[in-house]
Point group: C2
């Protein structure tokens, strides 16, 4: 463990530690020649700054935590990529935690990240983490919610307009002549799921004579989607819907997989299918999937930016940033025969 400290650098360069620190942090407060000598010493010794010491002294850190709801979902990977791009540009590292839709893990990560003195927290919340987040905020550690807004607007959030998205989805289905719509999604504790459903209901009401039926799932995964698809297929033919709005693309792909495998209900002829998120695989699906696109990496970038602003100025009032989703029409919602 041949650890090189600022002291070693100072010694080799023949200056004091204060000067070395200045070279690192306030280069213009130092004479060019000192700067050069110090730089040489740094290179020669292979000095690397000790973040722990810096963090300890300064009280704030160059680390941000990101607790993701479901790391398997490509949507979140895009968001992470966006946040991570932005972070890296500012020399900030991201601590990563995948809560896998389990409240226990979610809380564990939040605690872990707190110990690590993160500057702030990006959270795609699943369980009720707000009391924990409140506590963190009292200590000067802000949080920004990603992909959903907080119930009481107690925290800033960056998300897409899920109600409007749900509405667009059903409006589109109605446009292509569908009336009996199944909403596949869950758990209903997920705010984005209920919002998309709420939007769907509004559109159904506006259209009149359109029914929305909820087919609940336990998670937003391909497997759950496939299971829901099978349940629909099990019904007598005339009780089946003529369109499915899945709460996200993972579910939609699962449904699609079940339908294609089974073969009795062809997409889009007998049944139309629309998803949400427009993940990369939606276009490559068995039947290319109509979906509502989210500006995912922009969401990540924006969330990180807001987080850092709040970290710098704790007085800021929480604000909700909402992007509009965009309808991407593909084959899965072609007109019925």
């Amino acid at each position: 463990m041949a650890s090189v400290s600022i002291r070693d650098v100072a010694h080799r360069a023949g200056v004091s530690v204060g000067t070395v620190s200045n070279v690192l942090n306030r280069p213009d407060a130092v004479s060019p020649e000192s700067a050069m000598r110090v730089q040489e010493a740094i290179d020669a010794l292979g000095y690397v700054r000790n973040e722990a010491a810096r963090k300890l002294r300064q009280g704030i850190s160059a680390t941000v935590g990101f607790v993701v709801l479901d790391g398997q979902n490509p949507y979140y990977n895009d968001v992470v990529r966006g946040a991570s791009d932005e972070a890296t540009q500012r020399g900030i590292a991201i601590l990563f935690g995948d809560s896998a839709e389990e409240p226990v893990r979610e809380r564990m990560y939040i605690d872990l990240f707190e110990e690590h003195q993160v500057r702030g927290l990006l959270v795609a919340p699943f369980g009720d983490v707000f009391s924990r987040l409140e506590r963190l905020r009292e200590r000067g550690v802000p949080a920004v919610l990603v992909g959903r807004y907080s119930g009481q607007n107690r925290f800033s959030s960056v998300s897409v307009d899920n109600i409007s998205g749900g509405r667009m989805a059903v409006e589109h289905l109605v446009d292509v002549g569908r009336r009996r719509i199944a909403f596949v999604g869950g758990p209903l504790e997920l705010r984005e799921v209920t919002d998309r459903l709420a939007g769907a209901r509004i559109a159904a009401e506006d259209a009149g004579n359109v029914g929305i039926e909820v087919v609940p799932t336990n998670a937003t995964t391909v497997e759950e989607g496939a299971a829901a698809g099978l349940r629909l297929l099990d019904r007598p033919a005339r009780e089946r819907p003529d369109a499915i709005f899945a709460a996200n693309d993972l579910l939609a792909l699962g449904v699609l997989q079940a339908l294609v495998e089974d073969g009795r209900m062809r997409v889009p002829e007998e049944i139309a299918l629309i998803g949400f998120d427009d993940i990369a695989f939606a276009a490559a699906a068995a039947v290319p999937l109509t979906s509502l696109r989210q500006p995912s990496s922009t969401i990540g970038k924006t969330a990180l930016r807001i987080l850092l602003e709040e970290a710098d100025d704790p007085g800021l009032i929480p604000r909700q940033t909402v992007f509009q989703p965009e309808l991407i029409v593909r084959r899965s919602t072609g007109r019925p025969t």
Copy 2:
């Protein structure tokens, strides 16, 4: 910033800081009643340990860095999930970096993580990072390569047997009656790509009368796969292959998308298609994709375990852990008409 330190806890519990530290780290060296009083104080004050201070003092940290080649690839997400599971169980946090197949970013993350005093580094390497990793190792920070083995076995690695996988892929294609095989993959600097190709060539030679042609790509993405697919379609019909082995599922899905869209070459009738990794979306593809499954989350878990062992005992000799891939047959490699 109402920061609560171990000193405050000690004061409230009426004991010394040393005792508090012992409660936290060596509970059996402390009397039950002290432990209880300290615990109460901790709860009452909402004390959270300051990792920075601990790290500084101990010299080692409870953080591990993971530099991923391509965060968009579900395969790596599975690996990350595995590593992350294992890490969390041990109270270790993971710093996450997505190099997006860019050597500059890759190096940046390694440097950033070094500043953060990571205990070790998991790396899915793209560019040549070995000299940097060597330097880190000299400082007691080990690295374990994920998803590929190091050229000179200078580092431990956890991967799948890509040569054997490539072989299995082509053997399977030959089994279902294919002879003119296109290998879609690249860049050829990626060791796993060339290994899979090498395996393919071995199988072709063993079979005799089987040709392998390389269709290079610039990255292992859906888009590049689609582009490669279009290039194949552009050829006169008789110059087209009767099977495609894509270096990974992303490429395979891209190829599939192009073929299905175009419609001239049906999968699997006119052309068979096999991928690698067996990501979750392979099963949900336009034509369910035959693929070679990797035990991805096990790879992540194992890599982390080895990394920590090496961090504890720097004398360990690097070892290569290789898992066998498993052939998952689906519709995309049905028999030709």
